[in-house]
């Protein structure tokens, strides 16, 4: 490998553990709307403004959920009602949709101050995913005895439990690296594992936003899709509205599309399809 390739691969590996918040576009929108109302916010106000805005517009459930909200339960909303700052959103990986050989991702809110790796693993092992088409590849009852960090490796003690499959190992690796920001994971005294290539590991299409069971107020539904391909088909039922989305940007392999739908109040199923594989979520518009 040339030095340039080594640098390139190292940067790509470090960057690939960085996840973005699922509500980022809504956060930006809330600020541009406010700006229009109030006039220019001086840039010198800088990060303090950003922090305040991010805290104010996030209106998400007070997690952790002992029971994940089902469709119809009040969950995420883009309404501008200020609430106290909740804890961070963590990415948790599952297998699905309706298949057991590829990973999908959900974001779950945890209590402020929680240890990210332990919380993410507790969700992964102990909480059903929001989407009933997703599942954990790990057997029920797997528990985390301890989490230690040495250098760039997080070691997870599962009391001797080992991954039941290669995808189960990757489910844990993607979840732990997303929470820790470190590239290596060891299960018990096993070998150091790292993320396998995205294209071999992740489901061909993800409906990132809205999440399953979300309640959206105001009729504007922000849709965020990622997939391995250049186009995705989006269907909204009822209404039989379908459109082709161009996927671009994102990581080199997994491209993304983002759009906003205006929908009258009701319950809808959004289905995205890439190369014959679909992911669907039910969303309530109020």
């Amino acid at each position: 490998m040339t030095p340039e390739e080594t640098i390139r691969r190292a940067l790509e590996a470090a960057a690939s553990t960085v996840e973005v918040r699922p509500d980022a576009l809504a956060a930006i929108r809330a600020r541009t709307r406010r700006r229009r109302g109030r006039g220019w916010i001086p840039w010198g106000a800088g990060l303090a403004v950003a922090t305040a805005a991010a805290v104010t517009i996030l209106v998400l459930p007070d997690a952790p959920h002992p029971d994940p909200p089902r469709p119809g339960a009040p969950t995420t909303t883009a309404a501008a009602t200020p609430t106290p700052a909740a804890g961070p959103l963590l990415a948790v990986y599952y297998v699905g949709p309706s298949r057991d050989d590829a990973l999908v991702r959900e974001f779950h809110r945890v209590a402020p101050g929680s240890d990210a790796v332990r919380s993410a693993l507790a969700l992964m092992f102990g909480t059903a995913p929001l989407d009933p088409d997703y599942a954990s590849a790990w057997p029920a009852g797997t528990t985390v005895r301890g989490v230690t960090v040495a250098g760039e490796v997080v070691t997870v003690d599962l009391g001797g439990a080992t991954p039941p499959s290669a995808i189960a190992a990757q489910q844990l690796v993607w979840t732990v690296t997303a929470a820790s920001g470190l590239p290596g994971v060891r299960i018990g005294d096993g070998d150091v594992l790292r993320r396998a290539p995205a294209v071999d590991t992740l489901a061909p299409v993800w409906l990132i936003n809205p999440q399953e069971g979300e309640v959206v107020r105001g009729g504007r539904v922000d849709v965020h899709v990622a997939g391995f391909g250049s186009t995705a088909r989006l269907e909204v039922t009822p209404g039989a509205r379908g459109q082709d989305l161009t996927l671009r940007g994102g990581s080199p392999a997994q491209r993304e599309a983002q759009l906003t739908l205006s929908l009258p109040p009701g319950t809808y199923t959004l289905t995205v399809t890439v190369d014959g594989v679909s992911d669907d979520h039910t969303v309530v518009v109020e």
Binding site: I7, L11, R29, R35, A50, E152, G184, V192, R194, G249
Partner: protein, 172 residues
């Protein structure tokens, strides 16, 4: 709205399109420059908000993308200056593991960790040149624009960075 030419986008549409196409990479760029993820996302969101108010002057996605990059690089630079993230990070960073396991994945991992760690320790402008070149894959002219320096300065920052990294790369 996707079918309308980009020059007819209003500021909201421009932000939506540029968000879909570039947001994640911008956050990743910022976190490579900063090594602090929460702050990285704030800086990128600031850049999109600023883009929204500048759109009437930019009008074109390419110009808007260059503006976003420049704003993110600048935002990271000020954050580093003001908050001394680098110092805090270096104080907290651990020495790299001494004994690489024979397992291939672990060796690869150690290589990558050592390289990223070395890039973290570079002076700010050298790190910017390396990350923009090898992570974002920009041309020299684009890097110069994002960093707000001349192409000659980009060349010299990049060559000094590669020289500083060489001993680590050769040891691997």
């Amino acid at each position: 709205m996707a079918d309308r030419p980009s020059t007819e986008w209003d500021a909201d549409q421009a932000v939506t399109h540029l968000f879909g196409a570039h947001y994640r990479q911008m956050v990743r760029l910022a976190s490579l420059l900063l090594h602090e993820r929460g702050l990285a996302e704030e800086i990128v969101q600031d850049a999109y908000v600023r883009l929204h108010s500048r759109w009437h002057k930019l009008r074109e996605p390419d110009k808007a993308l260059a503006y976003l990059r420049m704003t993110v690089v600048n935002g990271c630079r000020s954050a580093l200056r003001h908050r001394r993230v680098v110092d805090a990070h270096l104080a907290a960073s651990r020495p790299p593991p001494d004994v690489p396991s024979a397992e291939a994945g672990a060796l690869d991992l150690l290589t990558q960790a050592a390289v990223v760690d070395a890039i973290r320790r570079l002076p700010t402008r050298q790190r910017e040149a390396i990350v923009l070149r090898y992570y974002v894959d920009l041309s020299e002219a684009e890097i110069a624009e994002a960093m707000g320096v001349s192409r000659g300065a980009v060349k010299s920052h990049a060559s000094r960075a590669v020289a500083a990294l060489r001993p680590i790369l050769e040891r691997l």
